[in-house]
């Protein structure tokens, strides 16, 4: 049984290594400025922890097979030197890893607002995403969802018709962004907690009702990407998604113009 168990542990370890090296499914193509750094962090983690995993399983397999024929087990209660040694070693590895990752989090969440960042308000509603742009005046109009929200009349967010700042607001069901331009998302939710997850941008942030949460990123590649909900929000959770369309600066300006032109009422296009 000893041999079988040790062999199984080795085979399991090899299978796990093969799974991760071949990785038939893996990170999506990185498409934001923060993605390469995050991928580097994740891969470093996987190498480091993967190494410890292999070491742990192999040592376990080895120790299960170290037999002392005819002599009885060693009457060994422990060894404080060893104890302190390996505690210090593993603490050093873990804390080094912890501290080395701190900078990345700091950069991802730092509060310094890019002066030129494009602001888009993202609202999660069971089971739909809405993206609101401030329009030419650069200001978002007032929203009072309980009072004005009429999804069937083209005003799902409840823009106040009496607020002039809201007249030119654009509400879209697609998140259109100019490439290489910093974006600041302003996350809200109308009913329950949702979470914006754009895997290609390596971006995830909850949208919590009653809160106004900001998050920033810069898309770096033109293309279409999927935005999904990653916080359980009800029975349509699995299909609560939107498309992120990253386009050139000119195309973005053209899109904005096409959305504003000839509009009288705020609301969905």
């Amino acid at each position: 049984m000893s041999t079988a168990l040790r062999l199984a542990l080795v085979l399991i370890t090899l299978a796990c290594i093969a799974l991760f090296l071949l990785h038939p499914w893996w990170f999506p193509v990185p498409a934001s400025a923060q993605a390469p750094a995050l991928d580097h962090g994740l891969k470093t983690a996987l190498w480091l922890l993967g190494g410890l995993f292999i070491a742990g399983q192999i040592v376990l397999a080895l120790f299960l097979g170290l037999k002392r024929s005819n002599s009885s087990s060693r009457h060994w209660y422990g060894n404080w030197r060893l104890e302190i040694g390996w505690t210090a070693a593993i603490a050093a590895i873990f804390f080094w890893f912890n501290v080395s990752g701190g900078g990345l989090w700091s950069r991802m969440t730092s509060a310094d607002v890019h002066s030129g960042a494009l602001r888009v308000e993202v609202t999660g509603v069971q089971f739909q995403w809405y993206f609101r742009y401030p329009g030419p005046d650069g200001a978002f109009g007032r929203v009072d969802a309980p009072k004005f929200a009429r999804p069937d009349e083209g005003n799902p967010l409840g823009l106040d018709p009496g607020d002039p700042a809201g007249k030119d607001d654009i509400v879209s069901s697609t998140l259109v962004l100019p490439v290489d331009h910093p974006v600041e998302l302003d996350l809200r939710a109308q009913d329950v907690i949702h979470s914006v997850f754009i895997p290609a941008m390596r971006l995830k942030q909850d949208a919590v009702p009653g809160m106004d949460i900001r998050t920033r990123f810069t898309p770096t590649q033109i293309g279409n990407y999927e935005l999904v909900c990653s916080q359980l929000c009800g029975l349509g959770h699995y299909r609560m998604k939107a498309t992120v369309r990253v386009v050139s600066e000119e195309e973005f300006k053209y899109w904005l113009k096409s959305q504003t032109a000839g509009r009288e009422n705020p609301g969905m296009k």
Partner: protein, 579 residues
Amino acid sequence: MQRSLISAHAATPSILRRYVFTTDHKVIGVQYFFLSLAAVLVGSFLSLLMRIQLVWPKVRIPFRGELKPEDYLALLTMHGTLMVFFVLSTVPQNGFGSYFLPLQLGASETSFPRLNMAGFWITLVSFFVLISAFFVPGGASLAGWTQYAPLSALAAAGPGQGMGTDLWLVSIGLFCLGSVMSAVNFIATTLRKRAPGMRLMRMPLTCWAWFVTAILILLAFSLLFVAAVMLLGDRHAGTSFFIPGGLIVSGRPVDHSGGSPLLWQHLFWFFGHPEVYIAVLPAMGVTSHLLSVFARKPVFGYRAMVGASIAIGALGFMVWGHHMFVSGMNPAAGFAFSTLTTAIAVPSAVKTFNWLGTIYGGRIRFATPMLFSAGFVSLFITGGLTGPLLAQPALDAYVHDTYFVVAHFHLIMAMAGLFAVFAATYFWFPKMFGRMMNERLGALHFWITLLGAYATFMPMHLLGLAGHPRRYSALTGVQYVAAMAPLQKFITVAAIITISGQIVFLVNLFWSLRKGPAADANPWHCTTLEWTLPSPTPAAGFGGREPVVTGSAYEYGDHGAVEDFVMQDAAPKTGASAL
């Protein structure tokens, strides 16, 4: 002693008093064991339905037809709740603990036998209340075992968010009550009922684990009880603890204002993270104990092990925020929780080193309990090592709420936890039922479960790294998720095989109950006090005899005697003083 003699004399109460409404901690332990067995069977069956619905949505379930998205979410909620509460928080602690904590301490009774009994009956009622949610209009809650508000606070937020969620909250409230009662009993018993000579530092590591876990339960479940009452208040009494203003649900304005959804998350995880250790500390205790028994060596670093258990218990209350890195909590708080979480990885690693130290150079007996204990160590290493990655806010943000996390907690809490439960079952079965379990079936069960656990949960890491969110009831909603269907199918097949393999365990269990070979008093040659009693344990426990403890719990190895172990109550050698 006087009292136990009298009660033994006045014995032969009715069958009902002996086996049903009993204050005998041994029977209560067995009752908890079978309650958890029922819960784990239901919970596993629900996960099978989920896995099948996910990859073959067109399959018609007998009596139910095709499953809808809300069915999937109800299955998911009930699976998680049953497994976390009624299996992992019940059998390792209240099942084996109720039975063996007093016996290992040398006591025939717990400090509060009636509290012990009440704890079980409240837990049983709580179980039926939970299951009944399947049969009410709207079905069971679909908000997951974490019940995030305001999804859980508003009946209009989905089917199952009405009475199904009320029943969930009542069930969990009752469960908290029962657990706290039992925990108080465990703490008092450990502090007051130890036999002469059983100093704290002579206690088996199982007792240490049950003791520390009881303190965790007392603090954590009290808080969850309060949170559940608050949420019920929001639902029915017009309070707004968790519901902010300005909400519209299903097209209707919600008449609440001023609450905070994050408050629920703080309260829930302040319970929820210690809960992870409530599940795994007893499992660690069992593993430490069994590795020593089957390697025929003392536990390596007994004092370090006790220290690590206490450190894990204390730090367990300071890491809850790592569940909330992307919740909207201040990112600066993320740093603090990240560092504290890294800190808790250290005593966990110390335990792993000491387990390896314990088996090093041992004359290992590969009986079924040892196989499962070795499996525990392997799974603990595998599941544990993704912890430091998840403790980093930046990295966690990407894999948070994906299958990567599902893989992590299933390997370390669910699988490792269950391996310890299986090990404990094969190990203590002779003492509990007076018969041995079948070793061949035990080994077969082990192989299916070990390979199945890895085959099921390892590939989930890849799903998570590729961005597959958890709690999706169908793969068809999102393109890149749909592309991962082949791997999901592989996982489903692995899960079906693994769960079907548990039939081997059930057959072994029920066959051995009736037909297993009779066990002698100490079949594994252990040192601890429960093995000084005949098998099965007599109703009176130690009877009038009070054991006197003379040594540590782990005197294995060469002592120059015929046997390679020394019982804890062995007469001291000449010259050595007993106390």
